[in-house]
């Protein structure tokens, strides 16, 4: 804001700068540093594991360390050297001073304070640890849930990778399939070729059979025709006279044969 005052003063001093003064604040704002770099929200800085150590739940440990150079320790042996008694004496003295000088008056409020604070301390001592564990468990559950999602996702991807690998292995063996197919096709072609060959043979045989049977039939027909012609001629050549003589002869022969036949069975029976 002061810069604006400066700029307006400069504009008053030199009127030619007035136009520049209009741009002044804008230029000033432009040169102020805003939002450089990325906002550093993540990764979030880690929280400390434990809070600062306190005594009586109120007074930090640093106070005792602070008073150590001034008050020293009341220690008679090596072990007790670590106990810093200065602040305790200070505290006790302070309380007694406040009470005796009635700077802190004992009122009904004091008793309610004792009962309230006593109740609170009792509650905290009794249930503090379990409540803390409960809170930790809540956080752990939250993290475990997310972890489970992450693990499930990882497992899913791993399964996909394994399946992909097995697919690749199968692809390597694909040429067997092609060989079998090739063989099948070759065999089918062979079969077709042989079938056609056989058909050709059959057709040719059919035609030849036809010619043969035609020849046979012709010969047969000629034979029959010739026989019929011969018979006809022979029958024609037999005149009527000859026919009568032949029939008479046949009858005479038959009579003779009949006699013979009659005579023979008698001989046979005897």
């Amino acid at each position: 804001m002061l810069s604006r005052v400066v700029l307006s003063a400069a504009a008053a001093a030199a009127p030619s700068l007035k136009n520049a003064a209009l741009l002044g604040p804008g230029v000033l704002q432009a040169t102020r540093i805003f939002h450089t770099g990325q906002p550093s929200l993540a990764p979030v800085p880690p929280l400390p594991e434990h809070g600062g150590k306190v005594r009586f739940g109120l007074i930090p440990e640093e106070f005792f360390q602070f008073l150590y150079p001034k008050t020293g320790v009341t220690a008679s042996c090596e072990l007790q050297r670590k106990i810093l008694k200065g602040p305790y004496v200070l505290g006790t003295g302070l309380i007694l001073y406040l009470l005796s000088k009635e700077i802190y008056v004992i009122t009904p409020e004091t008793f309610s304070a004792i009962s309230t604070i006593g109740f609170l301390v009792y509650i905290v001592k009794k249930y503090g640890a379990s409540v803390g564990e409960f809170a930790d468990k809540l956080n752990e559950q939250k993290i475990a849930q997310l972890e489970e999602v992450k693990q499930a996702s990882i497992k899913q991807i791993q399964d996909a990778i394994d399946m992909e690998k097995s697919q690749q292995a199968l692809v390597q063996k694909r040429h067997y399939l092609f060989d079998v197919q090739r063989n099948n096709i070759a065999m089918a072609l062979e079969v077709t070729y042989r079938e056609r060959l056989h058909r050709v043979y059959r057709e040719v045989k059919n035609r030849l059979d036809y010619h043969i049977s035609v020849q046979n039939m012709m010969r047969q027909k000629e034979q029959e025709h010739m026989i019929n012609w011969v018979e006809k001629r022979v029958v024609q050549s037999i005149s009527a006279q000859q026919e009568k003589e032949t029939i008479a002869k046949c009858i005479a022969d038959l009579k003779l044969l009949a006699k013979k036949a009659q005579a023979q069975p008698e001989l046979g029976r005897q």
Partner: protein, 226 residues
């Protein structure tokens, strides 16, 4: 320090400046917000408790009523925390002041009722007459229901004020009795002190229960009206 019994209920001023503003704003410092997934125990417990309470309290409402979740949850947190902080020695409880409780109760109740009248006029008016009343009683019953409706905000405010104030007064009185009896007979003082402890436990419970009751009633008025 305390001149009379009611000295702890006067509005705290410091050099003429109202300290009460700071006292009313102080509990909000005790509910830190956090953007983290995994927080410290304090924030984790608060978030868990808030989730529990909001689920339990807002599940009965329809989506229109559930828009009041933020209001009701901040209400229960405010009343609960101010009541509990008031139990500490030498502290001031804002909810003992009727003015403040009226300021909380009347707008919330009026908001619920007016929402009901605007959106579901027939149903809201129907609340004035319970089902199955015999015909001759209807006029009187409508009057009674109207009175009971308008008494609701008063009842809300006065209930909270009276409960918390009475509790504080009792603690003060019994503490005074213990103080007076200390010089007379120590055993009686001890008995009185035990009574005081029991009362303190009761007051802790009352502090939280009153917050719950206040919020529950407002939510009930809301449920009727959405």
């Amino acid at each position: 320090m305390n001149e009379n019994l009611f000295a702890s209920f006067i509005t705290p001023m410091i050099l003429g400046l109202p300290l009460v503003t700071l006292i009313v704003l102080f509990p909000s410092l005790l509910f830190p917000t956090s953007n983290r997934l995994v927080n410290n125990r304090f924030v984790t417990l608060q978030q868990w408790m808030l989730q529990l309470v909001s689920k339990q309290m807002m599940s009965i409402h329809n989506p229109k009523g559930q828009t009041w979740t933020l209001m009701l949850m901040s209400l229960i947190l405010f009343i609960g925390s101010t009541n509990l902080l008031g139990l500490l020695p030498h502290s001031f409880t804002p909810t003992t002041q009727l003015s403040m409780n009226l300021g909380m109760a009347i707008p919330l109740w009026a908001g619920a009722v007016i929402t009901g009248f605007r959106n579901k006029t027939k149903t809201s008016l129907a609340h004035f007459l319970p089902q199955g009343t015999p015909t001759p009683l209807i006029p009187m019953l409508v009057i009674i229901e109207t009175i009971s409706l308008f008494i609701q905000p008063m009842a809300l405010a006065v209930r909270l004020t009276a409960n918390i104030t009475a509790g504080h007064l009792l603690i003060h009185l019994i503490g005074g009795a213990t103080l007076a009896l200390m010089s007379i007979s120590a055993t009686t003082a001890l008995i009185t002190f035990i009574i005081l402890i029991l009362l303190t436990i009761l007051e802790f419970a009352v502090a939280m229960i009153q917050a719950y009751v206040f919020t529950l009633l407002v939510s009930l008025y809301l449920h009727d009206n959405t």
